[in-house]
Symmetry: C2
Subunit: 247 residues, 2 copies
């Protein structure tokens, strides 16, 4: 990145278009475009995105009497029969080099409208399936990052912080979703204490975010398991570092 022109998908969710999170989204678009990258935006509130995974997502059903959502995803995508709103997002996702998730932290996770983007768009078959996950996941070769705002202060997170480490609180997304899907996951950009800080501090956060966005190449990606350390049933092999360390 930085050396070539990327296609970037920003998935953004905030119910207030004037919010600080929305300012971060606009800054990301401008900063990346100035660098010569192509930016696609999925502004989920503006799109009235439907976050509810249901039988209505499939034009034709493999089994019309009993819904196994992942199975119908796999077959529907293969047959070109997935709901048009999902197909459009999937096209953006499959064509991009980097995905930025832009949101305010709601209950230590994404707002439901964005969780429903993951539920519906990260389809079985294309994104993962069988033994295709982590370093063999369908999103191999793409990068992803979270850029989020929260009300808490930085010292509330971390080893001695009252809430523990933020990356552990967000493990379900960073590792369980993005890492699992095969993305190279860059360290998150976190804007702390946002509802309470003075305008000057907001400017400083935006400046820090702009700087972060121009230096993505310098970031060390998060580390996840490799399937090389597990057998075909996903039982740890002797080479697994946690197992080896006990010998």
């Amino acid at each position: 990145m930085g050396h070539f022109n990327m296609k970037v998908l920003i998935v953004h969710a905030h119910p207030e278009p004037q919010s600080f999170t929305a300012s971060m989204k606009r800054l990301a678009m401008e900063t990346l475009q100035v660098q010569g990258h192509e930016v696609m935006l999925s502004d989920l509130y503006a799109m009235h995105w439907n976050p509810v995974a249901s039988a209505a997502d499939f034009g034709v059903r493999q089994n019309p009497d009993y819904l196994v959502y992942a199975l119908e995803q796999r077959e529907s995508v293969a047959a070109g029969q997935i709901a048009p709103d999902i197909a459009a997002e999937l096209d953006k996702l499959l064509s991009c080099d980097l995905v930025i998730f832009s949101f305010p932290l709601y209950w230590c996770s994404m707002p439901a409208i964005m969780k429903g983007w993951l539920d519906r768009v990260l389809v079985s078959g294309k994104i993962y399936g069988g033994l295709r996950f982590y370093d063999r996941g369908g999103m191999r070769g793409k990068r992803a990052l979270l850029a989020y705002t929260c009300g808490g202060r930085d010292f509330m997170f971390g080893e001695h912080g009252i809430h523990g480490e933020m990356d552990i609180m967000l493990r379900h997304v960073l590792r369980g979703t993005l890492g699992y899907a095969g993305f190279e996951v860059l360290p998150s950009f976190v804007a702390f204490h946002v509802p309470y800080v003075a305008p000057g501090e907001r400017e400083a956060i935006l400046e820090r975010y702009g700087d972060y966005l121009t230096k993505l190449e310098e970031l060390e990606p998060l580390s996840f398991p490799t399937l090389d350390d597990f057998d075909a049933e996903m039982r740890p092999l002797a080479s697994h570092p946690l197992v080896a360390e006990q010998d």
Copy 2:
């Protein structure tokens, strides 16, 4: 529990009414009713629950020009102006002794329709606010538990499992949401490998779940921080075990 009649709220989300997860929900209702408890059900797909937090949730706005969702929640609930679907769920929640969240694991978390129940129903002011969280949270005195199904096998989770410990993957709900809100959180009931197991194995899981539900009293709740170990700014005091252990 067990010694007195509880009011139990089951919040259930699965897009297939014939699913195994739905069987678990029915079993929970029957088992608890037979024990003399009163059971309320919020079947989110059946209710067509709206999971999207937005300005439409408030009858009157404190600030009609700029939406701060938590602020409007606080004021709307106090003024009796919150959306009727939220008010109805809040009534159930505030009147119950135990909440059971019944769902299939989607991307190491709840389906979006249930995440949106948390986003919209766990309102600022009633559930948390100011210094009312963890052992001072608004849900103090109530219990909560997760009962979920997943496709993975039990050995994929845990210290040496490929996905690490399940309770860490779900920390955002167990600690970041339920623990934060003040619930006493009981160990989760997890049904592994559900889409792949034979009918006999499904019966065995249901039997194990019925047994779990009749022995809730015997379960050791999860452990979360106490605000006694932090100052008014939520910086750790010398009494904080992680700090003390370094001395």
